[in-house]
C-alpha cells in the first residue's frame, strides 16, 4: 500500500507560511488598527453605559415606534426592560456595540465592493467566488489567524465577524444596482449622464431597499457570531453563553441565549424599517 501512496499536498504548511509572512510584515499595522479600534469600542460601550438603562430603553423604544410602529416600540421597551432586569444590561450593550461596529465596517467595505461588482464584469468575476469562499468556510476558522493579527479580544472578534457577515451586504448591493430597469438606465444615458451621475442619481437611490435588506442580513449574521467570537474573548452576551457552556449551567446559558434572541428581534425589526422610511 505504502508504495502507491501519493505524497500529501502540504496545503496546511503553505497557508501557515503565507500567514506567517503576513503576520511578520503587516502585524505592526493590524496591531495599530487593533489598538485604535479597541479604544473606539470602549468609548461606545462607556457612552452607552453612561446613561442610565431606562434612558437608553426609552430612546430605543421611541426609535422603534417611529420607524416600525407602536407594536415594535412596545416590544422594544419590554424586551430591553427584561434584559435590564436579568442583570444582563452591560453584556447586552457590549454585544450591541460589537454588532454595530462590525456591521458598520461591513457596510463600509461591502458597499463599494458591491457597487464595483455591479458595474464591472471583471470585478464581479473576482468578488463573487470570494463571497462563496467567505460564506462557506466555517466561521470558527477565521478566529485562528485573527489572533496573531489583532490579538485576543473584541477586535479579533469583530474581524472574524466582519469576514463572515459581509457577503450579504456585498451581494445585495450588487443585486440592487443590477435590478435597476434597463430602460431607466437608457433614459439617464439619453440625457448625457456620466457613470457617476447614473450611480448616485439613479442606481443607488433605487437600490436602497435591497441594500437595506442586505444590511439587515449582515446584522443578523453578526449576531449569530457573538457566541463564537466569545471564544476569543469578545465578552458580552456571547461571553455569558460561553461561560455557561464551560460550567454546564443550562439555566444561565438559556438566559443569555434568550437575551440574544430578544436583541436579534429588536435589531431585525428596526433595520428592516430604516430602508423603507422616508
Amino acid at each position: 500500500m505504502e508504495k502507491f501512496s501519493v505524497p500529501k499536498l502540504p496545503l496546511d504548511d503553505w497557508i501557515d507560511s503565507g500567514l506567517d509572512f503576513m503576520t511578520e510584515n503587516f502585524a505592526f499595522l493590524t496591531k495599530a488598527i487593533s489598538k485604535d479600534l479597541k479604544e473606539v469600542i470602549e468609548h461606545i460601550v462607556e457612552g452607552l453605559m453612561f446613561f442610565p438603562p431606562y434612558v437608553v430603553i426609552v430612546i430605543f423604544s421611541l426609535m422603534g415606534w417611529w420607524l416600525a410602529g407602536r407594536k415594535v416600540g412596545i416590544f422594544t421597551a419590554i424586551g430591553l426592560g427584561l434584559l435590564w432586569n436579568l442583570r444582563l444590561w452591560e453584556p447586552t450593550m457590549a454585544t450591541l456595540t460589537l454588532v454595530l461596529v462590525a456591521t458598520f465596517l461591513a457596510v463600509l467595505v461591502g458597499l463599494p465592493m458591491g457597487i464595483l461588482a455591479a458595474l464591472s464584469r471583471t470585478a464581479y468575476r473576482l468578488i463573487m467566488p470570494l463571497m462563496d469562499f467567505m460564506q462557506t468556510m466555517p466561521a470558527f476558522v477565521y478566529l485562528i489567524p485573527a489572533i496573531p493579527f489583532f490579538g485576543l479580544g473584541e477586535v479579533s472578534a469583530i474581524f472574524s465577524t466582519l469576514v463572515f457577515a459581509m457577503p450579504p451586504a456585498i451581494r445585495l448591493t450588487c443585486l440592487g444596482i443590477k435590478q435597476v430597469p434597463a430602460e431607466l438606465i437608457e433614459a439617464a444615458d439619453a440625457f448625457g449622464s456620466t457613470k457617476l451621475q447614473k450611480l448616485f442619481k439613479l442606481q443607488l437611490p433605487l437600490a436602497v431597499p435591497t441594500i437595506m435588506a442586505g444590511i439587515n442580513q449582515t446584522i443578523m449574521l453578526a449576531l449569530s457570531m457573538v457566541v463564537i467570537a466569545a471564544m476569543i474573548g469578545a465578552g458580552g452576551l456571547g461571553g455569558e453563553v460561553w461561560k455557561a457552556i464551560q460550567r454546564l449551567e443550562a439555566g444561565r446559558g438559556f438566559q443569555a441565549g434568550i437575551a440574544i434572541v430578544i436583541l436579534a428581534m429588536i435589531l431585525d425589526r428596526l433595520s428592516q424599517k430604516i430602508g423603507q422610511k422616508k
Partner: protein
C-alpha cells in the same frame, strides 16, 4: 438645412459583424444571415435626411429596426458602419465626453414606456436633464416648471410618477425632454402605450406644440394613421431596410411595393388626403376687366357653368361669374364683367382634408378654389378629382 442626416447606417448585433456585413453586401436576407452567422441585422444600409423643423416619422412592423435606428442617432446603440451628421457634423467620430455633451444639449428623448424615475417626484424628473448639465437649482426648476406648464401639468410637481395616469406620465416624459430645450426630439413609440382617446389627444397636442416650437422631430410608430397624422414625411422600414420615403400622400397614392400597400390598405384616405393631392390647375380663369363675350367663350371652351375671377397682376381670387350672368351681360352689351362677380365663393387651403372638400362639393356644384393665405389662387377642386383619389383605394 439638414438637421439630421444618416448615411449608410448599418447595425449588426453580435460579437463578430464582419461575416454578416459581407453577406449583407451580397444581398443575403436578414433571416438567412441570422441562420448562417447567428448575428442579427438591426439596420441595413439606411440613409435619410431630416431638414430642420420637420417631423420625420419612421414606421414599420415590430422588429423592423425602428428602435435601433432612433438609438443610433444619439449613439445609444453604436452603428456597425455608416455615419450620422447632426448640423453637418459627423458624430460617429466623437469621443465619450463629446458624445455626452452632444446628448445633453442637442437631444431630448421620449420613451414608449415613459421611463420616468420612480424615486423622483414630477418636478425632479423634469429637471433631470438640466441637473445633469449642472444648471443651478433655481434656474433648472424654473425651466422644469415652464416645461410642465407647456404640457398642461401645472400643479403636479410634487406627485410621484406612480400617482399619474399613463397619458399624464407621458406628458411628464415629454416635458422632461423639452426642459433641456433640445434641437431634436427623439420619440420612440411615444404614444403607443396609451389608449386610443388619450393617444389622439397627445397627437394633436404634439402637432400644436410643434407649430410653436419648430423642433426637428424623429418620431417612431408602428401605426400608419399616427404616422400620417403627425409626419411631414414618412420613412417605411422592413427588416432593417428603408422601403419607401415620402410624404403621407405619396405613400398612400403610390405605395412602393406590396409591403407598403398592405400597410396603407386600411387607412381612411378621406381623413388623410388633403386638397393638395387632388387639386388641378384651373385651366381657364377670368379677369375683372374681361369682356363678357370673352368670358363666355372661355367657359364654353371648357364646358364650365361658372368661372373663377382673379386679379390680373397678383392672381388673387375675386369671386365667380356664372354662365347665365355672362350671357345676360352679352345681350345687354356690358363692357366688362366687373359688375357680375359673385364674391361669395367657398374656398379651401391646400391642407384641407378630403372630408371637408366632400362636404363642400355636395352643396356647391361649381369648382372649389384652393387659395393660400393671400387668397392667391393655387388650383381648383372638382368632384371627379376627389372621386378618383378615393377610388384608387378600392382597386388596391
Amino acid at each position: 438645412m439638414e438637421k439630421i442626416s444618416a448615411v449608410n447606417l448599418t447595425k449588426i448585433f453580435g460579437p463578430h459583424p464582419e461575416r454578416a456585413l459581407k453577406l449583407l453586401s451580397q444581398g443575403t436576407s436578414k433571416d438567412d444571415i441570422f441562420n448562417q452567422t447567428g448575428q442579427a441585422v438591426g439596420l441595413a444600409d439606411v440613409s435619410f435626411e431630416v431638414p430642420e423643423g420637420e417631423i420625420l416619422v419612421v414606421m414599420g412592423l415590430s422588429g423592423s429596426g425602428k428602435s435601433t435606428l432612433i438609438r443610433s442617432i444619439n449613439r445609444l446603440i453604436e452603428p456597425t458602419s455608416g455615419q450620422i451628421f447632426i448640423d453637418g457634423e459627423d458624430i460617429t467620430t466623437l469621443d465619450h465626453d463629446e458624445l455626452l455633451e452632444l446628448r445633453r444639449h442637442k437631444f431630448g428623448m421620449v420613451f414608449q414606456h415613459f421611463a420616468l424615475f420612480p424615486h423622483r417626484n414630477i418636478l425632479n424628473n423634469v429637471e433631470y436633464g438640466l441637473e445633469i448639465q449642472k444648471v443651478d437649482k433655481e434656474l433648472r426648476q424654473e425651466k422644469a416648471r415652464d416645461a410642465l406648464k407647456l404640457v398642461g401639468l401645472e400643479g403636479w410637481e410634487d406627485a410621484k410618477p406612480s400617482q399619474l395616469s399613463g397619458g399624464m406620465q407621458q406628458r411628464v416624459g415629454l416635458a422632461r425632454a423639452l426642459a433641456v430645450d433640445p434641437d431634436i426630439l427623439l420619440m420612440d413609440e411615444a404614444f403607443s402605450a396609451l389608449d386610443p382617446l388619450i393617444r389622439g389627444d397627445m397627437q394633436n397636442e404634439l402637432n400644436s406644440l410643434q407649430d410653436r416650437m419648430k423642433k426637428t422631430i424623429l418620431f417612431i410608430t408602428h401605426d400608419l394613421d399616427e404616422a400620417l397624422k403627425i409626419g411631414n414625411r414618412v420613412v417605411l422600414m422592413k427588416d432593417g431596410q428603408v422601403v419607401q420615403v415620402g410624404t403621407p400622400e405619396e405613400i398612400l397614392m403610390a405605395p412602393a411595393n406590396d409591403y407598403v400597400r398592405r400597410f396603407v390598405e386600411n387607412v381612411d384616405k378621406s381623413k388623410v388626403l388633403t386638397a393638395k393631392s387632388v387639386l388641378t390647375q384651373a385651366r381657364v380663369v377670368a379677369y375683372p376687366d374681361d369682356n363678357p363675350r370673352t368670358v363666355l367663350d372661355k367657359m364654353n371652351s371648357e364646358c364650365l357653368s361658372g368661372i373663377l375671377v382673379v386679379k390680373h397682376d397678383d392672381n388673387t381670387l375675386q369671386g365667380m361669374v356664372q354662365v347665365k350672368a355672362a350671357s345676360a351681360a352679352v345681350e345687354r352689351g356690358d363692357k366688362s364683367i366687373a359688375s357680375l362677380i359673385q364674391e361669395k365663393v367657398p374656398t379651401v387651403t391646400s391642407t384641407a382634408p378630403l372630408t371637408t372638400l366632400i362636404s363642400i362639393l355636395v352643396e356647391w356644384p361649381w369648382q372649389v378654389p384652393v387659395v393660400d393665405e393671400e387668397r392667391q389662387l393655387q388650383g381648383v377642386i372638382v368632384y371627379s378629382g376627389v372621386l378618383a383619389a378615393l377610388a384608387k383605394r378600392e382597386n388596391i
